[in-house]
Symmetry: C2
Subunit: 256 residues, 2 copies
């Protein structure tokens, strides 16, 4: 039975989508069967994995709001072991459309039950917000991976995120654990990054993952070709760091 | 009568808050009376202007949802000509709490009528989402300033944003204009940035502002001291570029 990992942090632009795409691809390259679910109306994960917005006929919106089974919307990607459930901009309206639905927080969890058995990992990308879509991802997840950029505003939002995780644990998903915190776009030359890193180590102690993702322009270039970094430029520092992250998470799963 | 400018782009982490704080401060230093309104539950604008989360007793939430008059929640900042209406994390719930309120899109516009006369500029920072809070800012605004990072995912979201602006114009605010697009965190050494810049010039033609904000770590350091860049480090490239942006906007307003 696969592990479901939500990638969440309500701070914008910290590398959630880049992590979902490239961790997913690296795990798939390590012969894991991986499903990536895009829960963000921006649909960056969808386009970053090579599916253009015009090609998406049915997205996660159709399953969440219109009860379409997930089976019918799973798409292939460049990697054989990597599948995608796309998003589209209809998701912008989903937050309001789901207001009256009883147990709306559990919709994704129930949908994933039908397909999760086919995968070793399900990775869920979330929008920069603590709305019902992110809530669905946290309720469906076994654990949450928190990408954090080493800057002040990103540090500020951490306590809100942890409060939300506690609320999710006590109301909806008691087994939700923190897989870890991964530092992204890390520039070791700046005092700010090293200072924030030290603050985070104090705050999270054992939960900081060893793998740090450096700032690497190849990671920002890859999505314009619709390719994960290991296909776009396997020799880059970005590819190396996400392969290390996948290895660290695989070892972590073996131990637990 | 003052000009209200919304700073909006649903893509996360593109420099909305950094632009709201530092454009606001640069205009205030140019002897304009400026009010900055923080409409994001992350409250980054609030802390970036020196107000700690624990000190905020009443925020924009209390006016939007509980009908408190704005006059009672306006705070001072380090700059005499710069005032702040703070945010707090109650805003996370506002999206749902305002669902049943008739004409909920017009609440901020009506609130600002009572105070806008005292200011030359009202600058509204928005969250990374096209929700009812961002909608309130776009309905209240005379014009919208769009910060864009020169990367692929930021480029992708532009059409959704323009569609939203068209919808706002036809349903709520016919006079909403685009003040301009400002490139942020621009790194001229990368091909990606120059390529995306060229794409944006084609797409926006006359709406691209001349001022470009470079990537400058001093801009990322300043918020940890609760100071705008012109106070934290007036000699930095970041301060220089936001002073140029303020001058360009002041010239733009004189001409129109
Ligand atoms: N390690 C990195 N090095 C360089 N650029 C990066 C890196 N990680 C992400 N980026 C770029 O930074 C921007 C923000 O990353 P991304 O979109 O993945 O963040 P996000 O948290 O998903 O954003 P949002 O909050 O809008 O969903 C993107 O343009 C991406 O290409
Ligand atoms: N020109 C710049 N140079 C370097 N760092 C910058 C620059 N502009 C912003 N930053 C930093 O980049 C990060 C993102 O900027 P900011 O928080 O202003 O974006 P935002 O669009 O308001 O994000 P959100 O979508 O979460 O509201 C912050 O840590 C900020 O300090
Ligand atoms: Mg994203
Ligand atoms: Mg912001």
């Amino acid at each position: 039975m696969g592990k479901t990992i939500a990638i969440a942090n309500q701070k914008g632009g910290v590398g959630k989508t880049t992590t979902a795409i490239n961790l997913g691809a690296a795990l798939a390259a390590a012969d894991m069967k991986v499903l990536v679910v895009d829960m963000d109306a921006q649909a960056n994960c969808t386009s970053g994995l090579g599916t253009s917005k015009d090609c998406v006929q049915k997205s996660i919106y159709h399953s969440l709001v219109l009860d379409e089974p997930l089976k019918g919307i799973i798409l292939d990607t460049d990697l054989e072991n990597l599948k995608l459930i796309p998003a589209d901009k209809n998701l912008t309206g989903a937050v309001v459309e789901l207001i009256e639905v009883p147990e709306r927080e559990f919709i994704l969890k129930r949908l994933l039950c039908h397909v999760a058995g086919q995968f070793d990992f399900v990775i869920v990308d979330t929008p920069p917000s603590l709305n019902v879509l992110t809530l669905n991802a946290l309720v469906a997840a076994d654990s949450v991976l928190i990408p954090i950029q080493c800057e002040y505003f990103a540090l500020e939002g951490v306590t809100d995120l942890l409060e939300t995780l506690n609320r999710v644990r006590s109301n909806y998903n008691p087994d939700l654990s923190i897989l870890g915190v991964v530092l992204t776009m890390f520039d070791e030359r700046t005092n700010l990054a090293n200072q924030v890193r030290a603050d985070l180590k104090n705050f999270f102690s054992g939960k900081m993952l060893n793998t740090v993702i450096p700032r690497n322009v190849r990671l920002a270039e890859a999505p314009s070709f619709g390719k994960p970094i290991i296909i776009y430029d396997i020799r880059s520092k970005g590819a190396e760091s996400y392969v290390n992250l996948a290895r660290e998470i695989l070892n972590h799963e073996k131990e637990s």
